[in-house]
């Protein structure tokens, strides 16, 4: 069984799993505490729309997926600010728009569409070294942002208006959190897929929140649960020859269910 570790594709999958656990574990805390969980769905579908448009116009679909999802994550904050609407509402508007663009593009493409659908389903066992480097880069960036702006992020979680009134540049922090979340989600689409990523984004931080009232412990537990879900999902997928993405999601959901069951009647 251990010989599997000597294969390049499995080493990539292992590294991709750990990076996804760390990156999504951190930004998962952000989206859960900012109460914008559907940002994952909107960004992944923006990537899908981008790849469809790429296929349609003969441009690299992966590049277009990155461009579209980054554009979506950059736009959410400023549009919410300008319109005075909740970020969740803007996420809904962007989600429906990119879905419309994707379906229009699918209708117009005459050739194969597999590359676009790969982003929706994900394929951790086909990750390339470039994928790993990109994921490592964005994970490093997220950790740096957390280290440099941890105290300001905490204030934004507490209350954006209070943070602004305390002289904290809350718009910069809030917009950066949205942008980095979008970036991490986009680069992890190959690992886990656009539909399934939602679960890995929400389950680990939610399970962590159940177990602790401390923000720093929530980050650590969320990262731990993310890594455990990815690695054990990968292991079960290998042992039972079942799809890795789906297994990862089932494990992350089980982690949430177990922590929920461990919670006392009054939330103790």
């Amino acid at each position: 069984m251990w010989e599997i570790l000597s294969y390049n594709y499995f080493q990539n999958a292992l590294m991709g799993s750990i990076l996804a656990g760390v990156g999504l574990g951190i930004v998962g805390v952000w989206v859960v505490l900012l109460r914008i969980p559907f940002v994952g769905v909107a960004i992944s579908h923006a990537a899908f729309a981008g790849s469809v448009i790429g296929l349609l116009f003969g441009v690299d679909p992966v590049l277009m997926a990155i461009v579209f999802s980054l554009l979506a994550s950059i736009l959410i904050g400023p549009i919410a600010e300008k319109s005075g609407l909740e970020a969740n509402v803007i996420i809904g508007i962007i989600f429906s728009l990119v879905l419309g663009v994707a379906f229009l593009g699918l209708g117009l493409i005459t050739g194969p569409k597999t590359e676009a659908f790969n982003l929706i389903w994900g394929s951790i066992l086909t990750l390339s070294r470039i994928n790993i480097y990109l994921n490592a880069g964005i994970t490093f960036l997220v950790i740096l942002f957390l280290l440099f702006f941890g105290k300001e992020i905490k204030a934004v979680f507490y209350n954006r208006e209070v943070a602004a009134s305390c002289g904290i540049p809350e718009k910069f922090i809030f917009f950066s959190l949205l942008f980095l979340s979008g970036f991490v989600i986009c680069l992890n689409l190959n690992t886990i897929g656009g539909i399934l990523i939602f679960s890995l984004l929400i389950n680990p931080p939610s399970a962590a929140r159940i177990l602790t009232h401390s923000l720093s412990k929530m980050y650590m537990l969320s990262i731990l649960f993310g890594i455990v879900a990815c690695l054990s999902g990968l292991f079960f997928s290998y042992v039972f020859s079942v799809p890795a993405g789906a297994t990862i999601i089932i494990v992350s959901s089980l982690i949430f269910i177990i922590t929920l069951a461990s919670r006392g009647r009054n939330g103790s």
Binding site: C166, G167, L215
Partner: protein
């Protein structure tokens, strides 16, 4: 300390403030009253630069809050009317009070010993020292208000803007918070602007009452000049009926 000159503000074509002028001096303890929608909260947000007026001039510490927003906000405390802490966010009481020091400290610097001393002193003064490790979202309404007050005290601000901070509190908590505000006013010699609807429960020490109506300054009285006749005109309610509701109002 706060100079507001002919300030007007509109939202979606509706004028919220209309040529409001006010001069608030150092250590003034001003109550701002008026009907709902009179522009009280907007006025507070203009003072600390969270809202930008359409016309008019505003100066706080001789600075323009529109151009020097961060610098002005770092010296002004603000407690909002709806800032109760949600259970969703895993922050302790100490974490929340520390938020007050974050803006003072600025970017790229961690809170140090001196900051945590300010946090501890503020919690001590407000009487929440024994709650410091409790999850803030699980406190009662009165305790949460004290946490907000401690947060602003920890910042060493010079002006305190309080927007209906007695809302949703029981009478005992309202009394306690009022006494706390009076204590803070006397001890720290702050300039306080206190927006309220609870005319029976004004904190001791208020030396001026500014009434806003339809976005304009309706009246600006000092000390004992303001009475129930003025109130009935302010709220467009019969004086006798108003007396039954707010008592024989006199500062």
């Amino acid at each position: 300390m706060i100079k507001i000159q002919k300030v007007s503000l509109s939202f979606s074509g509706k004028e919220v403030l209309s040529e409001v002028s006010l001069d608030i001096k150092k250590q003034d303890f001003v109550a701002i009253i008026g009907p709902n929608g009179a522009g009280k909260t907007s006025l507070l947000k203009i003072i600390n630069g969270l809202l930008i007026p359409d016309t008019g001039k505003i100066g706080v510490f001789d600075l323009d809050p529109v151009r020097n927003g961060l610098a002005v906000r770092r010296r002004i405390g603000f407690i909002f009317q709806n800032e109760f802490i949600t259970k969703n966010v895993p922050l302790s009481v100490k974490d929340v009070v520390s938020v007050g020091r974050i803006g003072v400290k600025g970017l790229f610097k961690n809170l140090d010993k001196k900051d945590f001393e300010s946090v501890r002193n503020a919690m001590d003064e407000v009487g929440i020292k024994d709650l410091e490790d409790r999850p803030a979202g699980f406190l009662s309404g009165g305790e949460q208000r004290k946490v907000s007050i401690a947060r602003e005290l920890a910042r060493d601000v010079e002006i305190l803007l309080l927007d209906e901070i007695l809302m949703n509190l029981d009478p005992a908590s309202q009394m306690e918070i009022n006494n706390l505000i009076t204590h803070i006013y006397k001890r720290h010699k702050l300039t306080i602007v206190f927006v309220t609807h609870l005319l029976r429960y004004l904190p001791e020490g208020i030396n001026r009452v500014v009434a806003l109506k339809d976005g304009k300054v309706f009246s600006d009285f000092s000390g004992l000049d303001f009475n129930s006749k003025d109130l009935s005109r302010l709220y467009d309610v019969d004086e006798e009926n108003l007396k039954k509701y707010v008592g024989n109002f006199k500062l």
